[in-house]
């Protein structure tokens, strides 16, 4: 009796199970049909627009058209470019441009890869475009590039406000961070210095600990070129070497030590700022905008007698400062809507002048004379010439 009941129950369960299964099968079928349909739609979606239009010219236009400006490039220029993009998007009838942070080199590489929808219209750079990059651009059909200089950025060597402010010279910076240093007899030796006092008897007797950006960073390139090489040149015999043996000169001046004194802290400058807060003995290397936003917790060291302040960077007396640029494809102006208007916004007084909104974000603007000059050449779409 009991077993019979059990079998009956089991059979009942199975029947229910099958009903459920059938439902699931239909569901599965539906899902599959839906997904196949969606795939077909997605595949056709891009081609629909040109088909709808009649004349061949329309098709050409449509295959080129993009209604949104694309910007790539330097992570240092990123905060400024995005601010301008956002304001542009809000106050104009155009879509807000897309800004990607790829680093200066990566950005210019993408920029120079070709003309067309899939390549950016504008590349930001925290250094000037190189002749090799201009050549690459030309090879890919990008003949006319408009150059715009937008301002300056200082690179600071900062520590926590809990510790005293440091007074460094570029020579100190070089001796502290170079892989090899002069041994005093006209030769070089691996960097033996462990404390700031070893580097310069006038400095504090404190173990050196410096956090800085990795080699992929534009900040690192600029720091090496401006601070390290600047300090390197303080030795007359090394300076003389530049003419005789350029490779050795570069290797000596541009190589940062790899031991525990210099710590590569990744591209995230915020992380360095946070670490400085918890470790008062450590120093960090990053852009001025991060110093300005975090002035309550970190302070910039004085370099060659100049503090990293807005005024000192803007008048060029702070030694570790660089220019910021962006580059525009002239061929895309008029094809991608809004480029000219975007340039207008970027170069306008309310954005990049001394009391424009970009200065609040930490951009150090050009002086009035330079600004008028650049504004005229950018808005006039004058093509770049390298001298």
């Amino acid at each position: 009796m009991k077993t019979a009941m059990k079998i009956h129950n089991l059979r009942e369960q199975w029947r229910n199970g099958f009903a459920k299964m059938m439902k699931e099968i239909t569901m599965l079928n539906k899902i599959m049909t839906a997904s196949v349909l969606a795939l077909i739609l997605a595949a056709c979606g891009g081609k629909d627009t040109p088909k709808a239009s009649n004349s061949t010219q329309d098709i050409k236009q449509a295959s080129y058209m993009r209604n949104q400006i694309k910007i790539v490039g330097s992570s240092t220029v990123y905060p400024f470019a995005t601010t301008v993009a956002e304001n542009f998007g809000r106050t104009s009838a155009f879509k807000t441009p897309i800004v990607e942070s790829t680093g200066s080199g990566g950005g210019l590489k993408l920029f120079c890869s070709g003309l067309g929808v899939n390549y950016p219209d504008i590349a930001n750079a925290s250094r000037r475009i190189k002749p090799s990059e201009v050549k690459r651009c030309a090879e890919n059909g990008i003949a006319d590039i408009v150059e715009a200089k937008i301002g300056y950025d200082g690179i600071v060597i900062a520590n926590s406000r809990k510790s005293p402010q440091m007074q460094l010279s570029l020579k100190d910076v070089f001796l502290a961070l170079a892989k090899n240093v002069p041994d005093g007899n006209g030769g070089i030796k691996p960097n033996p210095y462990k404390t700031w006092r070893d580097v310069n008897p006038a400095l504090a007797n404190l173990k050196m600990e410096v956090m800085g950006p990795p080699p992929t960073s534009g900040t690192r390139d600029a720091f090496v070129e401006l601070a390290m090489e600047g300090g390197c040149k303080a030795f007359t015999w090394i300076k003389a070497m530049k003419k005789t043996d350029k490779a050795a000169y570069k290797a000596l001046c541009h190589t940062i030590r790899e031991d525990d004194v210099f710590i590569e802290a990744g591209e995230n400058d915020n992380l360095i700022v946070q670490k400085l807060g918890t470790n008062p003995k450590a120093f960090g290397i990053f852009g001025f905008s991060f110093l300005e936003q975090n002035a309550d917790s970190v302070q910039g060291s004085i370099v060659n007698g100049k503090a990293p302040t807005f005024e000192n960077i803007s008048n060029g007396s702070y030694p570790v400062s660089r220019s910021l640029y962006f580059y525009v494809k002239k061929a895309n102006v008029g094809k991608v809507p809004g480029i000219e208007e975007f340039l207008g916004e970027f170069m306008s007084d309310k954005a990049s002048s001394a009391d424009g909104y970009l200065s609040e974000k930490g951009l150090i603007p050009l002086n009035a004379f330079e600004r008028t000059k650049w504004k005229a050449s950018v808005l006039g779409l004058e093509p770049l010439t390298l001298d």
Partner: protein
């Protein structure tokens, strides 16, 4: 009992002690893991919970017709982009009649968000009838004011080092005494796209970007994955070739996700010319990444369907296809879906493959489809964490909370489906 103990007594105590010790090791391991988890969650919640509230300032705004809409056309587009700054400046000066200097006035205006004018535009264009009237309106305060109200600015610090000066604090305190400053629920955080101003930044753009990417990912990976699994498990004869395929699928599951990004860059962007930075290409890359996970889970759940079911179906005269699609696949469905959901949850948290295809970008406009430029939630977190503005610290944690909520929901769905639909043999 005692006899038994006597027989085995040599070493028994030691063995018991060993067992007890092992239990404690296990407990300690779990405790350590749990405490890490609790620590992580509490830090994120402590930091991020503030972002769900936003400081607002009540102003008596006169929507003067002369300034906003002098012609009286009431064109919504024109109303949206009209210049509302004078309106706000006027309202502020009414509140602070004794501030007259140009610089002081500018300082005073800075307590409002730079996005306040756009909020006004939205408000007026949605309800043009308020033109000509005077109303008390809650306007978003600037990020510095917000941080001050939330107690995140150290007022003991030297005046020169603070972004918010003593003067500003006097203004704020005056407003606070009149109950014109309040923390309100931060709706902008859930309805806005990205912004450079922390107080205006929201996650809707990123959340929709994630949604569209996952949709594309699901539509591609699910049918492909299921069909692959069914074929390999039910139809394919075991040969060297299928072995090779199987090994490769298992290996693919362990390939770092950035590699799929590179593949997407060179194939989808390079060869097929799919537009950069769109959820379409993002979803396709994520689909490649989740495919092995789905295939492996689906095969495992197909394998767990007992042989007897297939034989019973054959015995009743069903064909191979009928057997597979009427009996085996439906029974394996819960397991397949669970695997898919877990794969999708993994895809939701990915940033690395999106790096190469341009989805790590500043995108303000909210996407409306798979071909609009978009970011995704984890990318938004990454971008905010990298921003110099202090106000983004809490936004970053808040965005992490939102992402975690989505992940937990997806995992709960997987658990629920497993519990509800799973059949035990």
């Amino acid at each position: 009992m005692t006899e038994y103990a006597l027989i085995t007594s040599p070493g028994l105590k030691r063995r018991h002690a060993k067992e007890a010790r092992f239990k404690w090791y296990g407990r300690i391991a779990i405790l350590i893991a749990l405490s890490f988890l609790v620590f992580m969650f509490s830090v994120i919640f402590y930091r991020g919970i503030g972002a769900f509230q936003q400081t607002k300032i009540a102003l008596d705004v006169t929507f003067s017709k002369q300034i906003i809409d002098p012609e009286g056309a009431r064109d919504p587009q024109a109303l949206l982009s009209a210049d509302y700054k004078p309106v706000l400046v006027q309202a502020l000066s009414k509140e602070f009649p004794d501030i007259t200097g140009r610089n002081d006035k500018r300082r005073l205006y800075k307590i409002l968000s730079s996005g306040a004018v756009y909020e006004m535009g939205k408000r007026v264009s949605q309800n043009p009838d308020i033109i000509g009237t005077s109303q008390r309106i809650w306007v978003t305060a600037s990020s510095d004011v917000d941080l001050y109200i939330k107690g995140k600015i150290d007022t003991k610090l030297d005046n020169a080092l603070r972004k918010l000066k003593d003067k500003d604090i006097i203004y704020i305190e005056k407003l606070r005494q009149e109950d014109r400053i309040r923390k309100k629920f931060n709706t902008a955080f859930f309805t806005n796209g990205d912004s450079r101003e922390p107080e205006m930044a929201g996650i809707l753009g990123a959340a929709l970007g994630s949604f569209f990417s996952l949709l594309v990912c699901f539509l591609i990976a699910f049918p492909l994955g299921i069909l692959t699994a069914v074929y390999l498990e039910e139809y394919a004869r075991k040969s060297k070739l299928t072995d090779l395929i199987e090994i490769n699928i298992n290996n693919l599951a362990a390939v770092p996700s950035i590699v799929f990004g590179l593949l997407g860059l060179s194939i989808f962007l390079g060869v097929f010319n799919i537009p950069r930075s769109t959820p379409l290409v993002g979803g396709m890359v994520l689909a490649l990444m989740t495919l092995p996970t789905i295939i492996i889970a689906a095969r495992a759940s197909l394998r767990s369907v007992p042989r007897s079911i297939r034989e019973a179906a054959f015995g009743l005269g069903a064909s191979k296809t009928q057997t597979t699609f009427h009996h085996v696949v439906p029974l394996a469905m819960p397991g397949m879906l669970t695997g898919t959901i877990l794969g999708m949850a993994q895809a939701l948290g990915e940033t690395a493959p999106l790096l190469m295809i341009g989805m790590i970008a500043f995108i303000v406009d909210i996407p409306h489809g798979v071909t609009d430029a978009a970011t995704s939630l984890p990318v938004q977190i990454f971008l905010w964490a990298d921003s110099p503005e202090k106000g983004f610290v809490e936004r970053t944690s808040a965005a992490i909370i939102v992402l975690l909520v989505f992940l937990v929901l997806m995992n709960l769905l997987a658990v629920y489906m497993r519990k509800k639909l799973e059949r035990r043999w």
